[in-house]
């Protein structure tokens, strides 16, 4: 059956925990100290960002960074969400659209391609796979102008499409989908589906997709984060700030702080607000994506 169940079978957590009782208390202490120290390392900057979001502009620099001064969060949020006609909310919406829909479709495309690479032998298969993987080697800075010219040829620069369409392509997603499809979709099952008279494409959507579900969630989340964080492509493509995703919007605000210093607070608060949905998404979906990660690691 699927990797997910197999993983569960392989992880005799309870047995390991039971054995744990016998571990030396000193080892436990060392482990605890290490993990505790690094928890601080990973969380303190985020905590700082949260605390800074609650302060007025002057207090960010003048009061202790890790604890609250006057509670100014609501005023700051009000400022962020109303500045320039509430454009920040629009940026958030755009980012959700680019990243959400883009990651959804991108996952579908990548998984179909990766699935075909894993399950069918055809001429040029390996070459194709290598070319796709080679795509991650090229610096984004080099692709900006050519991409712009392509979209301008189609009269699509400065549109949702110009950011949305390139975001659909995820070479890493293809890689993951291929590995995972090879591991989790047994050839016998496909053979059986064929005997039942099911078409290949139908089999993919009815049987294989279900078996690959954890990988699909993983690809989706990675793709989502990649699109959400990407500001270089929209920076090149978009001149209408109503179409910006939130990172580019924050970048633009950050570049204007010389002229409009009030925006400094907006950048801090806006940054905090922008990472909250991502953290929530990961929390909510975590039991799905862990299984998918295993595929990328083990089967590599």
């Amino acid at each position: 059956m699927s990797i997910l169940t197999r993983t569960d079978g392989y992880g005799p957590t309870t047995a390991r925990e039971r054995r744990g009782v016998r571990e030396h208390p000193m080892s436990r202490l060392v482990a605890f100290v290490v993990m505790g120290a690094f928890t601080l390392y990973f969380l303190v900057p985020i905590w700082w960002l949260f605390v800074a979001s609650t302060k007025s502009r002057g207090q960010i620099a003048s009061t202790a960074g890790l604890w609250f001064a006057d509670w100014n969060l609501w005023e700051n949020l009000g400022f962020v969400f109303t500045y320039d006609g509430g454009v920040y909310l629009r940026w958030l919406g755009n980012a959700v659209l680019y990243a959400g829909v883009g990651a959804l479709l991108g996952t579908l495309l990548a998984s179909m391609c990766g699935y075909a690479l894993a399950k069918y032998a055809f001429r040029g298969r390996d070459a194709l796979f290598n070319v796709i993987l080679g795509g991650v080697l090229v610096p984004v800075t080099a692709l900006a102008l050519p991409l712009f010219l392509i979209f301008s040829a189609a009269n699509l620069t400065n549109s949702y499409w110009s950011v949305f369409l390139p975001s659909l392509v995820s070479p890493f997603g293809v890689y993951l989908a291929r590995i995972y499809a090879a591991a989790s979709v047994p050839a016998e099952l496909l053979e059986a589906a064929r005997l039942d008279g099911s078409g290949e494409v139908r089999t993919f959507f009815t049987v294989s997709v279900r078996l690959m579900a954890p990988a699909l969630v993983t690809i989706f989340l990675f793709q989502f984060v990649t699109i959400w964080n990407n500001f270089f492509l929209p920076l090149v493509m978009l001149s209408n700030d109503k179409l910006y995703p939130v990172t580019l919007g924050l970048y633009a605000w950050n570049s204007q702080t010389n002229a409009v210093p009030e925006l400094r607070t907006a950048v801090v608060v806006g940054a905090f607000v922008a990472i909250v949905p991502l953290i929530l998404a990961f929390l909510g979906l975590q039991r799905f994506w862990r299984g998918g990660l295993a595929a990328g690691g083990v089967k590599a």
Binding site: I3, R6, T7, G11, A15, R19, G20, E23, R28, V34, M35, F42, L43, P45, I46, W48, L49, G65, L66, M112, C113, A116, L117, A121, V136, L137, V138, P139, V140, T141, A142, L143, P146, L147, I150, L165, L168, V169, A182, E200, F204, V225, N229, F231, F232, T247, L250, V267, A271, I275, L278, A281, F282, L283, Q286, L293, G297, V298, K299, A300
Partner: protein, 310 residues
Amino acid sequence: MSTTTGSGRAAPTTREAASSGRRRSRHGGAITVFVVPFFLLFALFYLLPIGYAVFRSFRTVEREGTFGPATEVFGGLTQYEQVFASEAFWSSLGRVLAFGAVQVPVMLGLALLFALLIDSPLVKGKRFYRLAFFAPYAVPGVIAAIMWGFLYSPGLSPFTFVTGNVDLLGSGAVLWSIANVVTWVYAGYNMLIIYSALQAIPGEIYEAARIDGAGQLRIAWSVKIPLVVPALVLTGVFSIIGTLQLLTEPQVFRSFTTSISSTFTPNLVVYTTSTVPNFNLAAAFSVVLALLTFALSFVFLRLTNRRAFA
């Protein structure tokens, strides 16, 4: 150990290839449906731009007078001559190589340590640690860099006992300050990949080690680590690529410190050149950078003798 993993995977692949090979003609339509949508977009948004960049890297401009119009002509290797003569480019490359030589092993070492600890019975509250360590990955690079920029600045940082004594943004330390930001963002992500690999190790293997009387440290060293080597190789390759393409963090840091030049990393060189605007030269830089990235990833895979991408 690695051979086990290798052959375990190779067997079904061969079988599939053989079985589906016989039916090649029958599934042609399905393959087209699966591959073409992705490949079309890939060709349009990767291959075509790359091809165009390569094309432009062989072009050069000619003009007359101070404000004369420019004409694009074939320039042969003119741009590449400039790339190889560019001191800034090669020293930026040296800089990121030094960066990668230290940061990648440290980050992956930490990721491995965390993964092993969370996987071991020594630690309670695995769920919490997993999430806490992974959370920075959700912070966009621009925002992470701005955040750490604040934390490093002597006048703003809450950690005055550090920033008061060491100039984290000075020319000597700033490269490693950036390394810290990258580590902060990606260590948890790499930890999860390695941890997931550990989770998939069959329990019987531990039982065998147990019977031999091996302790946790021993099990980690001689059983677990060899089994997660493929995961380490994978994360290693992606880290190398990421290192060579370092851009966001140094660019953001330029507003916090005077020690980062406009040619600090190879990608900054490309960016700076394209703002001149001298796209032909920027394209040549990119081509060379991409080739070097490829070469380095390839050498790394050869050295580790693993085919992470096969």
